[in-house]
Amino acid sequence: MTRPFLSVEDLVVHFPTPDGIVRATDGLSYTLEPGKTLGIVGESGSGKSVSSSAILGLHRNTSAQVSGRIWLDGVDLLSLSDKEMQQRRGKDVAMIFQDPLSALHPYYTIGNQVAEAYRVHNEVSKKQARVRAIEMLDRVGIPNPGQRVDDYPHQFSGGMRQRAMIAMALINDPELLIADEPTTALDVTVQAQILDLLQDLQREFNTALIMITHDLGVIAEVADDVLVMYAGRAVEYGSTKQLLTAPAMPYTLGLIQSVPDLTSDVDEPLRPIPGNPPSLLDPPSGCAFAPRCTFKHLVDPPSLPDEVMPELEEIAPGHLRRCHLREHDLSKLIPLAAEKVEEPV
């Protein structure tokens, strides 16, 4: 059996702190093929960024404890030496970050920073790297790149900076690109442009893309598969269509319901998921979502979610979820859901 292009198996990222171990990611598995997009969704602190940073080996030389397997093109990235990993970073796997202003060094020109990514992996002169940087800046839609290449990040607009980040990430034609909330810090109109650009480039280079986001709109637009994370674990995993049309896990349903609907009455209140995510220092022993779940009383017996962690189960081909409910079609249960309306304190 051939292994998928990217296969993350039982990935664990723990951060020891004086207060105990922070279980940022616990037993995460997923696969991804070239040219495909995996969306990873979840609230802040659900382990989206931490697990993706592990693919680049960004937790090396920190106190983090990483275990599991990350197979990329037949090689387990976690078994590589620091030097080997460093040579793959930015070449085979690249990453773009949320806030392009803080992700770019304020003291170096855009061109310098983009060309640097090329020079570190290719034996080229400064001049050649610069030409290549201008080419890439042009490709990501920066007007007048021959001149703008010598500008500093503070002279670029937010959208332009993110384009420059994309140019930097794609300059070595990586096989896998991780985009960590690439549009969160941008204006809505610019968001759409950046997403279009990413999709264009993905098609052009046949790149595998991991799109980390908390915006289901982004997921609907770009992702082939979706992984929903909660408290460091995958709680639902399937095709975008399966997840958005037939969510089988109450947390996913909650995320979908919390998106305001443009067609509904403007006076209708927003529908947030009540409560807060659990502490990763001391996660609940049972289902991590149970304290916030509005379907908990429908489980038989209702105390089960508090005591036992549900396993990931396949409920349809390629559709996995982590839930104690017998029913897979949550829409049938919505009328029975306990309306836990908690007034904000």
Binding site: R89, S102, Y152
Partner: protein
């Protein structure tokens, strides 16, 4: 950029003028300074002589005017016209002291112009400042970066602990140890006696003669700079752009020195500029311990003798050094941080 520098220099000149005025007013606020300088066995004749020599009998605005004029065109001592005429009439023209511009005054107790005293003291002080500055910046920043890289590990703990000890030890303890033990008792190092640097061939004896006091002074500052650098580099290494640099696949060395240290430089340059300027006014304790006749020693002596012109001269030189270093720091800032640069 040019306009920026010119503007900074003009502001600096205004600041120096204001500062001279303030210093002058402060020192003259308490009546005739000649009384203090005249000493315990003061006779009316001696008091009158000092007063006439230095022009203390004039009003303060007049004296300030004369002082400022002296800075621009130079002046003659005694200041009192009658005294000068009397000297000429009696054929003692050679007793009139000509002080060329920029004249900072005349020291009655040393029988020299303040400028002569300052120039003589500048040699040891400047040497001490430059050599110790070089040592402390080089080792302070290097050790600080290492401590930041090995944060929390043994090396870092040793560095942090020892900087605390060194910083807590007074300069005269370290200096006395070097002088009394290293140089005199154990004779591990030649006794430091200042050799001026007049020509390139002097460089080795000069460096040898300055090394012990320079290291004494440098150790103290180094301890502080290790801590500063460590903190600035740690802060810089937690920035998002460091993650970007790593994600690009840059070797850790490049991440640290090109991306990490660069942003830690900005606050370091500010501190270094001001500390260096402070040293130009003289390292009083170090100079005293090693018996170096620099600005610090001059200040101590002038203070003991209540030699007002010398004190004013020292304050003006010290404050000018601070202002000049500030301008240099501003220019360096613009060089380091493109966001500070005035747009084209």
């Amino acid at each position: 950029m040019f306009a920026f520098i010119v503007r900074r220099i003009l502001v600096g000149v205004v600041m120096v003028v204001v500062m001279i005025f303030v210093v002058f007013s402060l020192f003259f606020a308490n009546g005739n300074p000649a009384i203090n300088q005249c000493g315990r066995y003061c006779t009316p004749e001696k008091l009158a002589e000092i007063t006439g020599l230095l022009g203390y009998d004039k009003s303060i605005p007049e004296q300030f005017g004369a002082f400022t004029a002296g800075l621009i065109v130079g002046r003659d001592f005694p200041v009192n016209d009658e005294y000068r005429e009397a000297l000429i009439a009696n054929g003692y023209e050679n007793r009139i002291i000509r002080c060329d511009a920029p004249c900072l005054g005349y020291s009655q107790s040393d029988q020299k112009t303040v400028n002569q005293l300052l120039v003589k003291a500048a040699g040891p002080t400047l040497s001490l400042a430059v050599v110790s500055f070089t040592i402390w910046i080089f080792f302070g920043v290097l050790i600080g970066v290492l401590a930041a890289v090995f944060k929390g590990r043994l090396l870092d703990r040793i560095v942090v602990g020892s900087t605390l000890v060194v910083y807590a030890l007074p300069v005269f303890v370290i200096g006395t140890f070097f002088l009394q033990y290293v140089a005199i008792k154990w004779q591990l190092y030649p006794y430091p006696r200042f050799e001026p640097l007049r020509e390139p061939a002097d460089i080795l004896p000069w460096l040898t003669s300055i090394m012990l006091p320079a290291v004494t002074l440098a150790l103290f500052f180094m301890a502080a700079y290790v801590r500063y650098t460590r903190a600035f580099v740690l802060e810089s290494l937690s920035e998002d752009y460091i993650r970007t640099a790593r994600a690009k696949g840059l070797p850790e060395r490049t991440v640290l020195f090109k991306h990490g240290l660069r942003s830690a430089l900005t606050p370091l340059v500010t501190l270094a500029g001001l500390d260096f300027a402070g040293l130009l006014a003289g390292a009083i304790i170090t100079e005293s311990v090693f018996n170096y006749q620099g600005m610090g020693a001059l200040a101590v002596k002038a203070n003991n003798n209540q030699d007002l012109p010398v004190l004013i001269g020292l304050v003006i030189v010290g404050a000018t050094a601070v202002i000049v270093m500030n301008i240099i720091v501003d220019i360096l800032y613009a060089y380091i941080d493109p966001r500070v640069r005035v747009s084209k």
